[in-house]
Symmetry: C2
Subunit: 498 residues, 2 copies
């Protein structure tokens, strides 16, 4: 019955119910599951575990490792049932976030390229069970992933036991689009041979000894993608500034109209900015990115994007059916890689990627906070932004200049938490304008950022802060008593407005 | 007369006085000079320029690019004469620092691997004149550097004119110890083929067309090395904690006694910590570092270090004569590389380096400030610490737990400036103890850092801060009103003590 999707005859005997498979999970274990930005996550075994624990009342606290964020059905149900002791390396679920911010879940927020290096070298403890979604299992047992690769190759390698969620609703056309490559052990590692965005350097499936697969659970659940806010007037203006800047770089002879391989962060703003490249003079573009969202497929459809490399395909519900229904048409223009390859510092440096990521807030010197509301409360996590921003040819951060109906300025005297230092932020864009910070000292950066990026409602107050700060002197002038006062006011009054 | 050191006959005709050579430098120019941590810097032409400007009173403001820090004779004399408009990418001179902190010099503080990528791709403007110290010029015109390589290969490539300072006091034995490799142009760059610390992948000299060399100035000035504070009781205790930790890692099977390639930051504390590896069970060690200081040679002499790769040899004055006098004995165990290779993110990741860098201060969550006193005043610069910390197998930061006779705690509630985020700090060591932060959430990191690393005099106050901060909740709890209060107190009273 499952010959087409389970091509190893012996493995066809290991089909289990989700509940049977979940019995491999015991209290205190570390569980690694597939999934990156809600794409290709394990779905039914985590749910079955929650079911069982609710039924039996047995004690159960697990460490949950993923690729990146997984569907709320997974994070939410696990955390609501109180099953998650630790979480790594990224999440974006509201209830998981609340538990993290209450201190109920110990969250290890990591550069997404780094997790598997540390796991393979035993720095984060053993992995008991991996649960990996697949579209098929090859004759040799190797696992063909679905809409994301994430950390699955290393989870398959390191786990004592592997459970496969064979998802019959994920299109078989995905087969051949993955490129599984795990760098060799250090310290005698050969260079990763990827030179072009489109290079295939690995295998179509995740190699694994069939004996390690203790169960295969058949499922038919679609990825639970989240809606994506459409481009709005402000994101269109951000995109406009970006396009103007890139055209200027072409005129200066630093870029051609083919630009450089593009990385685009995750979420509505990043998607909208990328969307802004439609209908521009740029052509034969390539992406070397983490997540391929709607705009990547818009650009592929327009023929403007000639190749896209990522580690996950995450679409809005409206776009998913269309794209997944004709995946074959993207076959020669799409590769999905493990996140340590899509986000690899050395490869990003080698390719000279143009990185475009989203800031929660930036300060007048160009330091960026992309994770912590009020410096304390985790939103999602640093994700791959550090992998890309530090190593890019050009590191661009975008944000709307205000949030919450203007009550919050995204440009502040001092960010309340630093994810990206001024060294890693070369261009800052808001709907107000663009600041090209390359080769500038902090004092110069400050005037440019306030003038070009801050919202007019906050510009005077920022200049006033800068003038006071300058009285204290220094390479990066600050008035330490007032540096975080805008955040304190926001915390106490709900607004940064004086 | 100069046949041995200038092997290209035509070039022997281009010997100039320092004053004649300096005439190539005009107001508004960008000048790139050799030199890294006071090793192998251009010496006499900058001095001659200052002389001339003092004599003529002509207007002269230049942009000064180097490898890293240069001798105070260069930075100090240039800045005292008011000649420096901009400075990049690193400095450590007191007067240069003062000028930067006054806002008189615009300082661009950069990751040291990054500068030449941006220069080669035209992102930082043109380079007018390069002044490079050499021990010899080969028959084909290629320049054999002296005690550092730094950014010189790219400066030679990009400058309109090149002036060579041929230093007859630098030992000719250095020839053959350099390995000059410049990565190919992006976006079609081949992998850098370095796999082992000892691999030679380039040429012994800096390739350059002889016509580009407009003058050769003969000099005999020694590198002006700075004294290095000897190991003291506190650095010995830091080293002791490091050795205990590494031995523990060996027992856990994560490392062998050969460890991994070691990187050690610049300065007395880093040198003293590295010194602590003498007489330990670790053997056949290798260094893949930026600067090779006294301790590297102590370890080479002891036979404990089998190979050292760096981009500069910087010794204390006492040790310099000894080491430079018998350089030949290190020939097969030493390579000097361009700083973009010694500090290359992809190579550091590939080799799995153990990075050991110095913090100015760290906060209870493990964020590190390594550059800004009171968050405002530049000490030296970020240097290569970001290149190494972000990409290392293990990123270790060390600092004494207090400074200024105990008036400053190096462990603070919130660092006043962030150079290295908690993501890039895996182990923190003070003379008080060691915090292994791998796989821990911020709330866990805080207790460990306060308990193990803070000085007992500040421990209660830090716990008190943490308790208050926890009332505000969050993944990284802070009381924003008090987060920087220790720094404000220090600024206002000269002490962090309550």
């Amino acid at each position: 019955m499952w010959d087409e999707r389970i091509r190893n005859a012996r493995l066809r005997e290991r089909i289990l119910s989700a509940d049977e498979a979940a019995r491999h999970i015991r209290d205190g274990m570390t569980i690694g599951i597939s999934g990156f930005t809600r794409a290709g996550d394990a779905k039914v075994v985590p749910a079955a575990l929650v079911e069982r624990v609710r039924r039996t009342g047995e004690p159960m606290r697990i460490n949950l490792w993923t690729g990146a964020s997984v569907a709320e059905e997974v994070d939410r149900t696990l955390v609501e049932a109180g099953l998650v002791a630790r979480r790594m390396p990224f999440q974006s679920d509201r209830r998981m976030r609340d538990a993290i911010n209450r201190g109920d879940v110990m969250y290890v927020d990591q550069h997404l390229s780094l997790t598997v290096e540390m796991i393979r070298e035993g720095q984060l403890g053993p992995l008991d069970v991996a649960i990996l979604e697949a579209i098929a299992i090859a004759e040799d047992g190797s696992i063909i992933p679905s809409t994301s690769v994430g950390n699955s190759p290393t989870y398959a390698m390191m786990a004592d036991k592997v459970i496969v969620e064979l998802n019959t609703h994920q299109p078989l056309e995905l087969e051949g689009m993955h490129d599984i490559y795990v760098p060799g052990p250090r310290p005698h590692r050969e260079p990763i041979p990827l030179v072009e965005v489109s290079d295939r350097i690995g295998t179509p499936g995740i190699p694994i000894h069939p004996d390690k697969i203790v169960g295969i659970v058949i499922t038919d659940r679609d990825d639970h993608f989240a809606p994506l806010a459409p481009p709005d007037e402000e994101t269109a203006r951000i995109a406009g500034h970006l396009v103007d800047f890139l055209e200027h770089e072409v005129r200066m002879g630093r870029l051609t109209n083919e630009l450089r391989p593009l990385q685009s962060g995750v979420g509505a703003v990043s998607n909208a900015v990328l969307h802004g490249l439609l209908g521009t003079p740029f052509h034969h573009l390539q992406m070397y990115s983490e997540v391929l969202q709607d705009a990547a497929f818009d650009l592929l459809d327009e023929g403007r994007l000639r190749f896209a490399s990522g580690c996950a395909v995450t679409l809005s519900p409206g776009r998913a059916q269309d794209v997944l229904g004709r995946l074959g048409s993207y076959r020669d223009r799409l590769i999905l890689r493990p996140q340590e390859i899509s986000n690899h510092p050395g490869i990003i440096r080698r390719l000279g990627v143009i990185a475009m990521n989203t800031a929660l807030e930036a300060d007048i010197y160009g330091n960026v906070n992309s994770t912590h509301v009020l410096g304390t409360h985790m939103m999602n996590g640093i994700g791959g932004s550090g992998d890309f921003a530090r190593n890019a040819y050009l590191s661009i951060f975008v944000t709307k200049s205000t949030a919450k109906d203007g009550r919050i300025s995204s440009i502040v005297p001092m960010v309340s938490h630093v994810d990206h230092t001024e060294h890693d932020v070369q261009v800052l864009i808001t709907e107000q304008g663009l600041a090209d910070l390359r080769g500038l000292a902090p004092r110069e950066r400050a005037r440019l950022i306030i003038e070009h990026c801050a919202h007019p409602d906050y510009r005077d107050a920022l200049f006033e802060y800068l003038e006071t700060a300058l009285r204290f002197g220094g390479h990066t002038p600050h008035d330490l008593e007032k540096a975080l006062s805008w955040h304190v006011r926001l915390r106490d009054t709900g607004s940064m407005r004086p």
